[in-house]
Amino acid sequence: MILTYAFLITFTLATLYPIIQVFSISLRPANKLLSTSLEIIPKDWTLEAYQKLFIEKPFLRWLANSTFISFVVTLTGVTLASTAGYAFSRFDFRGKKTGLASILVTQMFPATMLLLPLYIMLVKLGLLNSYLGVIIVYTATALPFCIWQMKGYYDTIPTTLEEAARIDGSTQIQAFYKIILPLAAPGLVITALFSFMTAWAEYVVAAQVLQESQLYTLPIGLKQFESSMSTEWALYAAASLIVSIPAVALFLFLSRWLVTGLTLGSVKG
């Protein structure tokens, strides 16, 4: 038993070490940035980096951009996934099986497979270097998975509820938003969080599409601090922590349902 605890504690500390390291680097004063000390809390720790981040660097700009884009992607994602997922769950139509299978298949596309044509499309439509451009790509990336999640969630809600509502005189669409949607709220929350994370934590696409520094999102901004020649360690560390906190909080909240969703189909009885 003691051995188990010892192992667990050691392993957990080792796992957390990179995070602890980031925290301690963010507290380093400007003249000790390139330090070879491994102290957790530097002797002359300071909150300089955090100050610099907000005052000297356009961190707030990046934060605003990321928040705006993530918000729009979340809204679109939830709206489209909630309706499409419902149709896949309740209705039978030609191409339904193909549709569902292709949703799974889209998860296998290498990043460039859609990114490249989308990039060219954006160039031709003049949407490069615009919010709309990234929003479109992010929604496309998140949507298949979200539809899948919503369908799975709707499947767990019995159709008898809608039938009862129809007998009482409501139309299908009323049954949908008055009865089913509130019940599917947890599923909608996952969809929202997943869409949000897709946009919030994405670097590759943003770096290609957003070229003007005014439009930079957080990932692009953070990457700037990290270069081969002159890494701005403390700034990067401080920014990483701030960016990670909402992501981690949301994620811990979401992971509970994500696992249920993934295991729902396979665990019998």
Partner: protein
């Protein structure tokens, strides 16, 4: 209006918006990509490209690097998923016992998964820095070893990305395994105890077979995500350093597309990668006779 027509209308209304978006940003680009793979589109031929048949595919399969990188990608995927599952299941087995504070451990051990991937990548890149990175500092100060030029050599860089990705990926397997473990009825273990089974026998005969239905889809997902993981490779090695020696298929095609502007070539390579992955995952699932209901 007839009932069936009305029903059809509802289906249409519900699906249409999402379908439109999907067609515009998934189906259309997919087809467009196929088209490009048969063309000579590049920086020079951006607006004046022509269809040139299978030439790009010939180029893909004709480059010696393709096979090297393909092998590397398989290697990368196998090693990563192996350790993800090993560590994840081991931790799940430990955490499934009645331990005080186990939910604290569980929450803390999920953190690598929770942190945005680009931050994971850039942070580890910093830790692998030759002079100031934590890894070398620990090696020197606490283990008395020489520092390793992680990102300066192809082997070192490859090891670095694998280590980073293992750190990133085990929580996923751990969480899935925990979920699976929790649904195994305790009576089975009790019966085994009565028969005098050892811990290892119980694990081998009861635990592992019963978490299989849950782990197989997870492993499939893990294979797909690892095979295609661009973020870690690209950001830890800053685009394939040293000298483009650290690539897996996806990062290679990303470079071809966005650094070299060989659009037609990149499109063909993307299709090939997709094909490889499709075949690999389908055969994996068939081999393990995955009993997952897809619909």
């Amino acid at each position: 209006m007839k009932a069936t027509t009305r029903k059809a209308l509802w289906i249409f209304i519900f699906i249409a918006p999402a379908a439109l978006v999907l067609i515009a940003v998934v189906v259309y680009p997919f087809v467009y990509n196929l088209l490009m793979s048969f063309s000579d589109m590049s920086l020079r031929h951006f607006r004046t490209w022509h269809l040139i048949g299978f030439q790009q595919y010939a180029k893909v399969f004709g480059e010696r690097d393709f096979y090297l990188i393909f092998l590397k990608t398989i290697f990368w995927t196998v090693i990563n998923v192996f350790f993800h599952v090993l560590i994840g299941v081991a931790l799940a087995l430990i955490l499934n016992q009645q331990l005080k504070g186990r939910s604290v451990f569980r929450t803390l051990l999920i953190l690598p998964w929770a942190i945005p991937q680009y931050i994971v990548a850039l942070t580890w890149r910093g830790m692998f820095n030759y002079e100031y990175g934590a890894i070398n500092l620990i090696l020197m100060k606490y283990l008395g070893l020489n520092p390793i030029g992680w990102l300066q050599s192809p082997t070192g860089a490859f090891a670095a990305v694998i280590i980073t990705n293992i750190w990133l990926g085990f929580p996923f397997m751990m969480v899935i395994a925990l979920g699976g473990l929790q649904s195994i009825p305790a009576e089975l273990y009790e019966a085994a105890d009565i028969d005098g089974a050892s811990w290892w026998q119980k694990t081998r005969k009861i635990t592992l077979p019963l978490i299989r239905p849950v782990m197989i889809p997870a492993i499939t997902l893990g294979i797909v995500w690892t095979f295609n993981n661009l973020n870690i490779i690209w950001l830890v090695t800053n685009g394939g350093e040293p000298a483009d020696q650290t690539h897996i298929l996806v990062s290679y095609v990303y470079r071809a597309a966005f650094n070299l502007y060989r659009f037609g070539y990149a499109a063909a390579l993307s299709v090939v990668i997709f094909g490889i992955l499709l075949i690999l995952s389908l055969s994996f699932m068939k081999r393990t006779r995955a009993t997952v209901s897809v619909y």
